[in-house]
Structure formats: C-alpha cells, structure tokens
C-alpha cells in the first residue's frame, strides 16, 4: 500500500478530480477531526458533520488557491476551519456558551476567552499528533521485521527492561538495543516525512 504523505494528499487533490483523492483525505483527517469535535462537546452525529463540513470546506479553499502551503502547516489550516465549523454547529445547537465555559474551566483560571482558545488549540494538537503517530506506527510496523517491532513495542512502549525482553525472545541484548533504535529512528524519519510538503 502506498504511503500517503501530506504531499501525496495535496497533489492528488490538485491533480485529480476522482473520488480517490477525497477518500485519502477523509482516511487521514476524518478521525482526528471527529475526536476533536467530540472533545469540543458535540454528539457523535454532530462531530461527524463537523468533520465532513471541515474537509469539504478545506477542499474548496484548496482548489480555489486559498491555501498556500508555504504559509503554514496543513494542520494549522485545517484547525482554523474545524474550529469555525465546530463553533458554528455549537451555536446552531445553542451549546456554545456551555462548551466554552467547560473548556475554560478545564484551562484552569478565570474562564478567560484566551485560555479557552489555548485549550481548544491544545486539544487539536493532541488529536493531530495522535493521528500522525498512529500512522507512523502503522507504517513502520509494516516495514520492519515482526521481531524487530516486537522488541521495540516491549522495550519502548511497554517499558520492559531490555535484558528481560532479550531473555524472553532469546536474543542477545545488543540486538535488542539495535532493534529499539532502528525502529525509533525510522519512526522519527517517518514523522518528519509525513507532514513534509514538497
């Protein structure tokens, strides 16, 4: 399966009018936008609508040349749209005030609007980063030997001692460290590549 980077998605949207381009966009960004919208206080159905409207609005603005890749990351552009769509939907449902109060309360002090914004931005960054990391983990898992990934999973993600993992998998400890760093290095590269726009 071809690995879809931000560049691939943007290229497809620019060059192809087929459903594939839309499908790829949805595959990558629908999940994080829905989860973000859920955290903004929408119901599941409303969150789906917000995601759908956000992506449609993005495609429209991208195809009319409003989004300039050199001016900022795609995530920031999508964030702006998602927040607008979310607030619009909340207003429609009359829940805006309550949601903003809740977010401000989570931010900690005073209920100031700026703190609410910072919290919204943090929620977005969190969902975005999770989606990107999940994609990198999926790709790297496909690329490396299962044993190599298993070592990484146990040592890095589960925090097991390398010596213990080496013993359980019957590997020399040096191999465990090599596997660990090989996978992390690959993940790092992958993460850097994923949002690089060429």
């Amino acid at each position: 399966m071809e690995w879809v980077t931000t560049s691939t998605i943007l290229r497809d949207l620019r060059e192809s009018a087929s459903g594939d381009a839309w499908e790829r966009l949805v595959q990558r960004f629908h999940g994080p936008i829905v989860r973000f919208a859920r955290q903004m206080g929408h119901t599941s159905a409303d969150a789906e609508d917000v995601a759908q409207e956000t992506l449609a609005a993005f495609v429209k603005s991208y195809r009319t040349g409003k989004y300039d890749r050199r001016k900022g990351r795609l995530s920031h552009w999508l964030f702006g749209i998602a927040v607008r769509q979310s607030r619009r939907a909340l207003r429609r449902g009359g829940r805006a005030a309550a949601a903003i109060r809740e977010l401000s309360a989570r931010a900690g002090a005073g209920g100031k609007a700026e703190q609410g914004d910072a919290e919204v931005s943090r929620l977005w960054e969190q969902q975005w980063e999770d989606a990107m990391l999940a994609e990198c983990l999926r790709k790297v898992r496909e690329e490396v030997e299962p044993q190599t990934f298993r070592v990484f999973e146990q040592v890095v993600l589960e925090g097991r001692a390398p010596a213990e993992v080496a013993a359980s998998l019957n590997l020399p400890a040096t191999v465990v460290y090599n596997c660990k760093h090989r996978v992390i290095a690959r993940l790092r590269r992958c993460r850097a590549m994923l949002e690089r726009v060429t």
């Binding site: 071809e2 690995w3 999940g31 989860r35 969190q126 980063e129 999770d130 989606a131 990391l133 999940a134 983990l137 999926r138 898992r141 690329e143 490396v144 030997e145 299962p146 044993q147 190599t148 990934f149 298993r150 999973e153 890095v156 993600l157 589960e158 925090g159 097991r160 001692a161 390398p162 400890a173 040096t174 465990v176 460290y177 090599n178 660990k180 760093h181 992390i184 290095a185 993940l187 790092r188 590269r189 993460r191 060429t198």
Partner: protein, 861 residues
Amino acid sequence: MTTLPGTEKSMPRERCVTTAEVDHFVRGALDDQASSIIAAHIAQCCDCRARVKAVTKNLRFADRLTRRLGGDAATMTGPPAARFPDAGERYEVIGELGRGGSAVVYTARQRHPSRLVALKVLSVAHALDQRHALLIEREARILALLRHPNLAAIYDAGRTGDGRPYLVMELVEGVPLLDHADRAHLTVRQRLELLGKVCDAVAHAHQRGVIHRDLKPSNILVDDAGEPKVLDFGLARLFDPDESAPAMSAVSEIGTIAGTLPYMSPEQVRGDRESIDVRTDVYALGVVLYELLTGSLPYPIDRTNLPAAARSICDAAPIRPASLAAGVHGDLETIMLKALDKEPHRRYATVSSLADDLRRYLAGEAIAARPATLGYQLRRLIARHRLVFGSAAATALLLLTLTTALAVLAIRLDSQHRLAVTAQGNEALARRDAERQNRIAQAVNTFVADMLAAANPERSGQGRDTRIIDILDEAAAGLDGAFPDEPEIEAAIRFTLGSTYAALGQYAPGEEHLRAALQLRVRLSSGDTPELAQTMNKLGRVLQDTARYEEAEAMFREALAMNRRLFGAPHEEVAKLLSNLGWLLFLTNEFAEAEECLVESLEMRLTLHGEEHSSTATTMNNLAAVLMRTGRPEKAEPLFRRSMEIDRALRGEEHINIAYTMANHAMVLADLGRLEEAETTQRDALARMRRLLGEEHFSIALTTHNLGSMVRRQNRPDEAEPLYREALDIYARVVGEDHPRVADTLEHLGQILAQRGNDADAEPLLRRALDIRRMRLPAAHQSVITLHLDLSAILARTQREQQAVQMLGEALSEMRRADAPPDLRRRALTDLIELETSLGRLDQAQAHRAELEALEGAAEP
C-alpha cells in the same frame, strides 16, 4: 549503573561504542568510570559522536511517543506490576499469555469471584488508533452473544486506566488442536470426533449471526479433559442468518486482509467481502481437517509472498490427501475436498452439514457429498497451469521454485542436446540419459518440497515468523553426506540452495554451495555441459555482487564460451550470459564492451522471444543503464520505461524486477534533471524492495544511497545524511565495510559534512573511502582523484597547506601519466596555484599556471 566490560581506567579505547553502550551513556545509566571512557572515545571518534546524536534524538522522540500513549517515560522502567495495564481493582495481572496483531493477552486473577482469567488488551502500539479499539469492543459484543461449552466464554469488558479497551474471557488451559492430536496419538476416528465438536461450536456461532473468519488449529485449544474450545473472535463478523446476503458490519474493516493465510478461503484472499459467509468458516475447517488427518497443508503457502500465496489458495488444487496419509481416502477424501472447494457454492452450505457428513462417515453410512467429476477436475487442472505459466513473483518461495525450475530446465536442455547428438546413434543410451536426468529433477523437487514442508509454522514451532533463511539453513545442515553415491543429485541440490541463498542476499552460504556444486559438476563431466555453464554463471553473479569482479568476469566469459559451443547462437543461454557479462563490464566501467555485449544479447532475445518477455526487459534495463552512464539519458529513459511496462504486464506489480527497473528509471530521471519525479520513483522502488527483500539486502543499501543522492541534489543535505548513514549500516552488515559501494556512500557523506564546515568528521570518512578505492582502482582513476581533491581542500582549510600541496602534486602526476580528463586536471591545477601563491611559492605557481593555460588552449577547437 552499568560498567563497561573489557575497558581499562579512563584511556580512550579503540573499539567504537555499540548502540547499547550509547543508549546507556545518553540515559546516564553508566557509572562514572564507564561514562568517562565512552566520553573520551566519543571526543575522538566522529562516527560515534554522530551515533550519540542520533540516539539522543531517538530517546527524545521515544519520550514524546510514550507520553502521547499515556505512559510516563520516567516511570516506565518500574517493577513488572506497574507495566501491566491497569484494568481496575478487579484483576491482578500475572503474566503475558501471548500477543497478536493488535492485542496482548495476559493471564490475570479475578478477585471476585476468585478465578484465573484471560485478559485481552489493546496493545500500546495501537492505543492511538481508534479503529483497533473499536475492533476489541466489537469482539466483546460478539462474544456476549455466544454461550457454548466449546466456545471460550466472555466474563467482562471495559477500558484500562490509560483508556485501552480490554475484555476478560475464560482462561482455557489447553494445547493447540494439532499438538494435542499428535501427543495423544489420536486415531483418525478420535480426530474426526474432536473436529465434530469444533463444528458444533462454530455452528452455534453461525446460528447467532457470527462468522469467525480466523479458524485455525492454534485458535482451537484442547483442555485436559479432551474438550476443544474455539477462541479468538477478534476477526469475527456479524451477519443476519435470516437473510441470504450477509449484512455489513457497522465498524469499518481495517486493512484488506483479515485472517491467517493458509486457512483463508479464496473469497477472503480476493477481498471479496460480499461473498464471505458461513461457507468461509466451512473452508477453514476443511483446511484444519486436512491438516489434522495428513499433517500437511493442502498446498504450500509462502506467508512472505502474498501474491504467490493468494494464487495457491485461489487456484492450486489440494494435494490428494491419500498421497500423504494412509487411510485418508474414499469418502473421507471427498468430504475434505468438498469443504475445500474454491467455489463457495460447491462447498457444504453450513458447518452443520459438514459435521453431519463426518458423523455419517464415522457411522459407516453414505455421505451426502459426492466426488468431483473428472471433467471438473480437468477444468481446474487447466486453470491451474495457465496461472502457473502466466505469472511470476519475486519473494522467497518463488525464488526457490524458480531456481528449481532452472535446474530442471538445464537438465532438460542437456537431455535435448544429448538426444540431438545421439539422434543418429544409440537411442537406448539417449533414453537412459533422459531417465537419469528425470530422476535428478525429481530428487531436487522432493528436496525442495521437504524443505517447504518444514516451513509449516505450526510444525516448526517458530510461530508466524519462520524465515526462509532458517529453512534453508536447516536444509543445508542435513545435506552433508546425504547423497554419498549420487553426486549429480547433490550437485543439483547444492546449486538450488546456493542460488536461493544468493537471491536472498546471503552471499557467503550461497557461494559455498555453488562452489561445491561446481566442484562436483567439474568432476562429473569430461567436457562442456549446460549444468557447468549454469553453475559458473550463478557463481559469477555471487562474485559480482560481492565485488570480486575479475573472478566474476572469468566465470562469465568461460560460461559464455561454453554455451556458444553447446548451443550456438541465437540461444537464450547465450543471450543470458551476454547480458550478465555486459552488466559486469558496466560495473567495471568497461562501457564500450558492455554495450556490445548487451546489444548482442538484446538482439538475440528480441529474435527468440520478441519484446514482451521478461528476459528482453532485463537486457533493455541493463542497456539503458549503460546509455545513461555514458551520457545518453534521453536514449536510456524510454528503454527503462519500456522495460518496466513489460515487467509490469508480465509479472504484476509485486515483482522485484519492477522495483529494480524503477530504481534505475529514477536515476535516469535525476540525470535528466527531473529530480522531484526521480525522488518519488526512487522512494516507491525502495518501499517495494523492502517489502520483497526485507531489510538486510545489498540492493536496499544501494537504493537508499541513491535516494540520499537525489535528496542531496535537491539541496536537502540534512535529509540525505541519515539516508547515507542507513546505507552504510546495511552495507556493513551485508557485504562488509570494504565494498566499493561503501566508498561511494562515505564520499557523499564526507562531502556533506565538509560542506557544513565539519571537516574533522568529514576527513576520516573520505580517507576510508580513498583506502577502499585504492584497493581496486588505479591511482589515476577519476574516482580516486576526486577524493584526493576533496581531501586536499580539507587539508588546506585546516591549516595543513603543505600536505594539501603534496596531495595535489601527487594526484596531478598521476593524472598527467594517465591522461586524465581535463576538467579534473584543471581543478587540481587551480587549487594548487592558489595554495602555492598563498605559501609564497610563486615559481611553482607560475609553472602550474602555464600548464593550466596550455590545457585550456588545447581544449579550444
């Protein structure tokens, strides 16, 4: 705190630090003495400094990752209890039971009621992916629908403290079905009775609208009382039993393949979701039944090669069970083959009807299934052969098959040749000869079949990760002395093994077996034979890949001459050797003769096979590489493209030749200045190679290097650097550190560091590159001179002008002697003049200026 073994006081040591040591060092896990020893070494070693930098970045990234996953890096090295998922107060995790694609299963103790349970939790690696979480939750919902003594029951479900879904099930303490049957020495009757119970459990699930979709022996455990339990409904799907068409699940599927290859039905393999229904489970139970009674799978399946495995499942007829196990014939065979039919509508319509037929058989009654008609069997046979001959793929199993086929092909060629020779003479002798060759071919095929049977992961005990290399090693270990009186068979098998090792990039054992085969074949023949030529050719390829070009050239030339004598021209065996020799000459920069060989080979192959043939495509690719290297990219580009089109049409997307040609095409695109396109193509080629060849392969290193160069040419040296370092790591593991390609990578990496002003780290890399090149190339070779020029520039920049002048002077002498290209001489002279002027050596500078002017004057028309 950790100490370093074998180190003394705080003297810097000569050995470079390992990744493990760097990891300890960066995390501050070493004691002071060990730490200072490493620090001292790092201060002097630029490679290790780079490694420290990379490991530091890695650990920082790992921290970020674990934080996102809900863990805290600082607490992740705590006691074992802290590492297990917190499933609340109700469960105490005792140990790990196993792990699958996206979940880990633990043994746990439930507090109320007190009992041991199996706790299945989404693995941390999948914690960020909500789709996998939904799958576990769906499994819980499905299990809640089922209650049957032969199905593992669900007790509870929920989310762990860090938000991962889990489900709690009955802990089945038993052994997998096949192991139980073997250990308990079950009779055929007992095995069938056992499977009947499994069928009942699956039928229960079907009645509640659940299709299992991943039935296999390891998902069926048999407990101490001899009762089977069906486990793992992780891939199960809900359907409406009252409707003829299955209802689609509300949860989106992940990936395109769900199931375990050897037990997957043709419709599962094809991804034909509409056709998946209860008959998919009938098929899987058919495979389980087959394995339970014969000890083998119905057809060999290579899990590493999806396209080939898919073809086997969709088109290969099962090996007749009666040929594998006495007593499995007649009605029993008919039952099995009906369950295994490729067409769902020809299988049992329900699992209950399969169970019914098994019970009828046991009761001695007439079964409902009828054997397939002869006409049907013939149709399948024809379909099978069309596919076998119509396609090829490029991973391990197929390589084995191909090399075997090559051995057999050569034997046939040999027989034809001898038959022709004796056509006018002794017919009986020719027939005996053909029979002998046939016997050898059969012995090789049996050997390969046995080797593949050992690859059955259930039997080898290595789970899903049985590697083809391990299978080869095991087969090779049993070869010594196995054929004391049959050197021809041993030679053919060693040839097959050697070729397969070599194709997988395992050159040392490949060479060992090929040399042994050559030795045996030389001893057996008194003159030219196709087998001898074939072995020399294959050995030549290994020598070429390990940069022993002179020996490789001798092998190719000898084999070519032999084939010309044996077959005359045009003949494919001659064309093949011409193509191989041409490529070797290309590698040794003998471009003119390389082109001659490749043109002759291409003409021959076009005459013999036409354009739409894989061999023609290979030679086109090689010739295009020569054209590219000799400055004719515009002619090379269409050849590469055509070669790729032919390979795609003939071999499908997942063939290694596509990846190779794609990589070459990327190089020519880069030469034509289409760098973005080149980079995309090269990345695609690399991803394909990784899929088909794994990580440890020469071609992966080479392509990674080439990708680095493309990135570098687009002014992204920071991205090129890690690619070069990765290429170096792979080279070191696969072909050692003195391979000529290593010098190329060192040169590029050194240049990047030098351009960044990091002369201290660049210099040792360039010097190592120079040492490697000097081993094989004349002192005046362009590649050697370029390194002299790069190094002298570093010397000049680091206040060692005298040494720089000396190095440039020596390089210039060599260039004068060998009449080197004028642009290199011009560059050396210009650098030299500048240095000499700055050192006040005006006379020498003047003399060199005169030489430069003479050179420029000569260059004018």
